[in-house]
């Protein structure tokens, strides 16, 4: 049973996004409130207020939208690809590879702003490639169980190397590395958001094009073929696109968990599993969620700032529990 009509659901989603954006623009450690922020957007405000809104808050809202949306879509696509509701964007060893890349950059002492995002991005893509090759070598066609296993294995390998490196690194750098890995939206600013958009938009287009094929794939590979899906091609494309989305998101914001896992399920519950609607809805909901989480990360323990991944986990776990309950009660219907 769908609780909301299609139009109602879309309106609610957009409302959630606008609300989240207002929240993100309206709270922060400096006491500037939403009204003043809106005034700045309209063109007024003094130098400090303008700096706060344009340099600090607005980029985080935009980045939160892009990162949260990318992770949610990537998670949804991977869940369909491997036919497993527990899949998340970091499934295929991506988080291990990104961590390794980032830690190497920190340990090498490269101070440039772009060193870590680039290293995380390259690390993520290299592991995806390794998992891909491993799965293919294990025998034909990107079998989903083989993919899962290969991802776990390679991710664990990368994680072990990362831990090893951290154990011999000096503590200040270790702390830096860990904090970056826990996720945060403050690091890359407008340029980072632009770069993310450059990667995310084409990747999104690819995934959305395969939306109907993903619906079919969820039935099983043979039924999907019988219903007209080119399974091998779809898997390849979605695999690449989802990996790009995740790698770009991790490069911009570190490893933010739970968004990619929980948001697709929430949308499925509220709207149904058809991917043509699921994917855009997941993007918007994921974005709104991350913007809200970031607002919390910045203000809950002011002046300190928590890693945003902590908030998404703290919120995501009870949310997931609620979803599970609803799923369970529905099975009895």
């Amino acid at each position: 049973m769908k609780t909301l009509s299609r139009g109602g659901f879309a309106a609610a989603l957009l409302g959630a996004l606008v609300g989240a954006a207002l929240l993100g623009l309206g709270v922060g450690g400096s006491g500037l409130d939403a009204g003043e922020a809106l005034a700045v957007l309209a063109g007024g405000g003094d130098a400090t207020a303008r700096a706060i809104v344009w340099e600090l808050r607005a980029p985080r809202v935009v980045l939160g939208f892009l990162v949260g949306g990318s992770l949610a879509v990537s998670g949804a696509a991977l869940q369909a690809l491997v036919r497993n509701p527990l899949a998340d964007p970091y499934l295929l060893g991506l988080s291990g590879g990104a961590s390794l890349g980032a830690v190497l950059a920190i340990v090498a002492g490269v101070a440039s702003l772009w060193a870590m995002p680039l290293a995380a991005f390259v690390g993520a893509l290299l592991t995806v490639l390794a998992v891909y090759r491993l799965a293919l070598a294990a025998g034909g066609g990107l079998d989903s169980r083989v993919l899962l296993l290969a991802g776990v294995v390679i991710g664990a390998f990368a994680g072990a190397i990362t831990s090893g490196i951290l154990s011999v690194t000096e503590s200040v750098r270790v702390r830096s590395a860990m904090l970056w890995l826990l996720g945060g939206l403050g690091g890359v600013g407008w340029t980072g958001a632009a770069v993310l958009a450059v990667y995310a938009i084409p990747a999104l287009a690819i995934v959305v094009r395969e939306a109907r094929a993903l619906d079919l794939l969820a039935l099983g590979e043979e039924p999907a073929q019988h219903l007209g899906a080119d399974v091998a091609r779809t898997k390849r494309r979605v695999y690449v696109a989802a990996s790009l989305l995740t790698a770009a998101a991790v490069a911009a914001a570190g490893i933010v968990g739970f968004v990619g896992l929980v948001v697709p399920h929430a949308v499925r519950l509220l709207r149904g599993p058809a991917h043509r609607g699921l994917l855009p809805a997941a993007f918007v909901l994921g974005g709104a969620l991350l913007i809200t989480a970031d607002a919390g990360a910045r203000t809950l323990f002011a002046p300190q700032e928590l890693p945003v991944g902590v908030i998404t986990a703290a919120v995501g776990v009870p949310l997931f529990a609620v979803l599970l309950r609803r799923l369970a009660t529905r099975r009895l219907a």
């Binding site: 509701p85 079919l216 969820a218 039935l219 099983g220 019988h226 149904g272 599993p273 529905r330 099975r331």
Partner: protein, 273 residues
């Protein structure tokens, strides 16, 4: 009567291992308005033959054609518009309603971008009714019984509005009534709508009732391809199935088979006759 050939295998061979042929020299034709049943013991290659006809396995020899064209020349989407397949087993990974599941039968006609129109919705409605699952439309697929789910998948196949139906063990989980209903439906589609139907079944008797022709497969080879009356004979069946089988003929001429009890080697459990 039967029309142009829709599904054809000519001298098809399928090899799974270097020295093992799963299918050898198979010749098979299913015409429009005709129902052909493939029967045979386990491991005879029945499902392989289906896969070969649909172009899902590479052929080690021979050819497979659909509507006169090599199957490899069809895109999967094009093929799905013409041929609907109901496989043996299916388990959706995510919860889905019956209506949404049947609606996926329209996907080959919609492609990635086209929005569904009134014609699509009408086709789905018709399919739901013909498969007798209209009452289940709002149910979640995971709450259905095995038989209901099988009928829903048949409805999805009908929603594809195909010119040929390929069914792999379609009545495995169905009771007598639903089994008969399904085959009556297939027979109706074949006769009235001119579909070509290719059915793999273990149920020799039902196949014999409804199929125009039986294709008997054993060890990868086609042993017989003819009307049920001519295919189902005692000696042949007993040899192929490696069990004594007797054939009786119904008043309307349809042969029915029954397997004999094995002659008791030790003390009989009960006296017969």
């Amino acid at each position: 009567m039967s029309g142009a050939p829709v599904l054809e295998l000519t001298d098809a061979a399928v090899r799974y291992a270097p020295d093992a042929l799963r299918l050898d020299g198979a010749n098979l034709t299913v015409r429009a308005g005709e129902c052909v049943a493939i029967v045979g013991p386990n491991g005879a290659g029945k499902t392989t033959a289906l896969r070969a006809v649909l172009g899902l396995v590479p052929l080690a020899g021979g050819s497979a054609r659909v509507e006169g064209r090599a199957v490899a020349a069809w895109t999967r989407e094009e093929l799905a518009r013409g041929v609907a397949v109901v496989g043996q087993r299916e388990e959706p990974a995510f919860p889905i309603t019956v209506e949404d599941a049947v609606f996926m039968g329209r996907y080959p006609h919609l492609g990635p971008w086209r929005r569904p129109g009134a014609a699509d919705r009408a086709a789905v409605r018709r399919a739901l009714e013909r498969a007798d699952v209209a009452a289940l439309a709002a149910r979640w697929v995971e709450t259905l019984s095995g038989g209901e789910w099988q009928r829903v998948r048949l409805a999805r196949a009908l929603a594809q509005e195909p010119r040929a139906l390929v069914l792999d063990e379609p009545t495995a989980s169905l009771d007598v009534r639903h089994e008969m209903e399904l085959f009556e439906l297939v027979a109706d589609l074949v006769q009235r709508d001119g579909l070509a139907a290719l059915v793999v079944s273990h149920h020799l008797n039902v196949a014999a009732r409804f199929a125009h022709r039986l294709v008997l497969l054993a060890g990868g080879r086609i042993v017989a391809d003819d009307t049920p009356r001519r295919v189902l004979t005692d000696p042949r069946l007993s040899r192929v199935f490696d069990w004594p089988i007797a054939v009786q003929v119904l008043p309307d001429g349809t042969p029915q088979v029954y397997p004999e009890r094995r002659p008791a080697a030790g003390p009989a459990i009960k006296e017969s006759r």
